[in-house]
């Protein structure tokens, strides 16, 4: 297999470009999208690469159609992705729910910009965290990843596909305009060194009869993709194990939705990913994710040099959320600070996790500039003084 970009070496590329290349290396062969700043470079790269790897990249009439198209592609067995930003992401909410309900593995990239509405097209924000988790209606769960560097944009794209395939679920890669447009040196591995996961397929006719059951006892049913000889019914309506609409039976609804939620929730330990920095002996914790985590690492160093024992928890996955881990940290430190580029989103998750065992303070910033390390230090010091 020849790739339309160098592999097995490092390159100097934008975050958006890294996502496109990683998708190709993860086996993505169908991309449907609608251009939007600051995600357009992903589409540009896909339009260039896809024909060269026997894949398809198609411009749809809008974002509703884009996500619908990748759901269709996934059901014929192709790994598929779309990418957008705030306004387009809002349009994708209905079909994101359809992908959850039909347990369709897809990757949806949201390169966040300032909102609501058309907001600040060229500037970064972290205002879509709650939307990514809860934007579609009804009880549900899914997976949300948050890259902070161009390398992470690359690595997490591959992981997004693997998680989508493993858990038969949509995965949202929540990037932002800063990560999307900045250039960094990225190590692109040899394709044979990249571990790839493929969805479970039915082993036989009998298994194929239950595309929405739990025949393996692991909450994840095999996916009988179209064109392989099985007859499968796929619907957004509440359905039984065979996929037949059953819209008024409380028991069937409960069983289906609880399994969809539990296949994520019960596998939290496998899905959740984080890094810590100077956290072991910390008296003050900073919990951060995405682009702001870079400033937070510097802030921890600066606080330490001024005698404040600070530590960082950097979340690479913001959903599912490890509330128990936050509680443990809250038992160790006296205060937790959450700098984020919004007016408080992950802050509320942290506060719930801390369970009153430590003070939780938000360090919000909106308008399009990433927190500087100095701003985080200043906010921490101001609060530490007021104890």
């Amino acid at each position: 297999m020849r790739y339309p970009f160098p592999v097995g070496k490092s390159d100097f590329i934008q975050g958006d470009e890294a996502i496109a290349r990683a998708a190709i290396l993860a086996g993505c062969r169908f991309y449907a999208g609608y251009p939007i700043t600051p995600a357009s470079e992903i589409f540009e790269a896909m339009a260039l690469y896809m024909p060269l790897v026997d894949g398809v990249s198609v411009q749809m009439e809008d974002e509703l159609a884009s996500i619908a198209a990748i759901i269709g592609a996934s059901w014929v067995g192709v790994k598929a992705m779309t990418a957008t930003s705030g306004p387009g992401f809002s349009l994708m909410m209905e079909n994101l729910g359809y992908a959850i309900m039909t347990e369709t593995p897809i990757v949806v990239v949201n390169v966040q910009r300032g909102g609501p509405s058309t907001g600040q097209p060229t500037l970064p924000a972290q205002g879509d965290v709650m939307q990514a988790i809860w934007g579609t209606h009804g009880d549900h769960s899914l997976i949300v990843l948050t890259p902070a560097t161009v390398q992470e944009a690359f690595d997490m794209t591959i992981r997004a596909f693997n998680l989508a395939e493993k858990y038969r679920t949509p995965v949202v890669l929540l990037s932002d305009a800063e990560v999307g447009h900045m250039r960094e040196r990225v190590n692109i591995p040899n394709p044979e060194d990249i571990e790839l996961v493929y969805r479970k397929l039915p082993a036989n006719e009998e298994e194929a009869k239950y595309p929405f059951g739990d025949i393996h006892g692991d909450l994840i049913p095999p996916m009988p993709i179209f064109g392989k000889g099985y007859r499968t019914y796929v619907t957004g309506l509440t359905h039984d194990e065979k996929g037949r609409p059953k819209t008024v039976d409380a028991e069937i609804h409960q069983k289906l939705i609880e399994r969809i939620v539990n296949k994520i929730e019960k596998n939290k330990k496998d899905i959740i990913d984080y890094e810590t920095f100077e956290l072991d002996d910390a008296e003050v914790a900073i919990i951060s994710y995405g682009i702001v985590a870079r400033s937070a690492i510097r802030a921890v160093k600066m606080l330490r040099s001024e005698g404040i024992k600070a530590g960082l928890l950097k979340l690479n996955v913001v959903w599912p959320f490890d509330f128990e881990m936050i509680e443990k940290i809250a038992e160790q430190v006296h205060a937790i600070y959450v700098p984020e580029m919004n007016l408080g989103q992950v802050y509320h998750l942290v506060k719930e996790g801390a369970n009153g065992k430590a003070r939780v303070e938000l360090i919000p910033k909106i308008g399009g500039e990433v927190h500087t390390p100095q701003e985080i230090v200043k906010a921490v010091k101001r609060c530490e003084k007021c104890i």
Binding site: S10, D11, F12, T122, E178, H181, M182, R183, E184, R185, I291, R294, S295, I297, R298, V370, T372, P373
Partner: protein, 170 residues
């Protein structure tokens, strides 16, 4: 090492930053490159930041520049406060009148005389910067230029880069 290029839209400021960043990446250094420009494609301010280090880089934008390369007065005015007190200021001496110590040359004029194209000023300034600071090797920049400039313009850009480099050796 924090390097900031500042000018106006149309001077190729961002491309100069990208090529310096690529040259550092070619040498195996860690590098972050970001940019800030107004929505006007010509005439508004344009800034390209390049941070180069052997260590992991957490910074995103230049906060305390070791080197500021200013190609236009507007760019200089917008960014001069970000230059360290003992930082190096490099300017196009025809177009920028700084209010502090500086080095430089008439980059735009050199570009016009060397290639006939004022828009190669970014390569001239880049050459001058590399000669004065040794931040990356000349050969790495030349490789980066070959990779990054539009096909068919490699020679003219390399010529401008070398003219700036020679000027910097003086």
């Amino acid at each position: 090492m924090q390097v900031r290029f500042a000018g106006i839209g149309g001077q190729g400021v961002v491309l100069a930053g990208v090529i310096l960043g690529e040259a550092a990446a070619i040498e195996g250094l860690n590098v972050v490159q970001t940019q800030d420009y107004s929505s006007a494609s010509r005439g508004g301010h344009s800034i390209a930041d390049v941070i180069i280090s052997k260590e992991p880089i957490y910074d995103l934008i230049v906060t305390k520049a070791d080197v500021l390369v200013a190609l236009a007065q507007l760019g200089y005015n917008t960014t001069k406060d970000s230059l360290k007190e003992d930082g190096l200021l490099i300017v196009d001496t025809d177009l920028v009148k700084p209010d502090r110590e500086f080095i430089g040359a008439p980059f735009t004029r050199i570009a016009e005389e060397t290639t006939g194209l004022a828009l190669t000023v970014n390569m001239v300034a880049l050459g001058y910067l590399v000669a004065k600071t040794g931040i990356v090797k000349k050969e790495s920049v030349e490789e980066a230029i070959r990779r990054r400039v539009p096909k068919g313009t490699e020679d003219i850009n390399l010529k401008a880069f070398r003219a700036g480099y020679e000027e910097g050796l003086k």
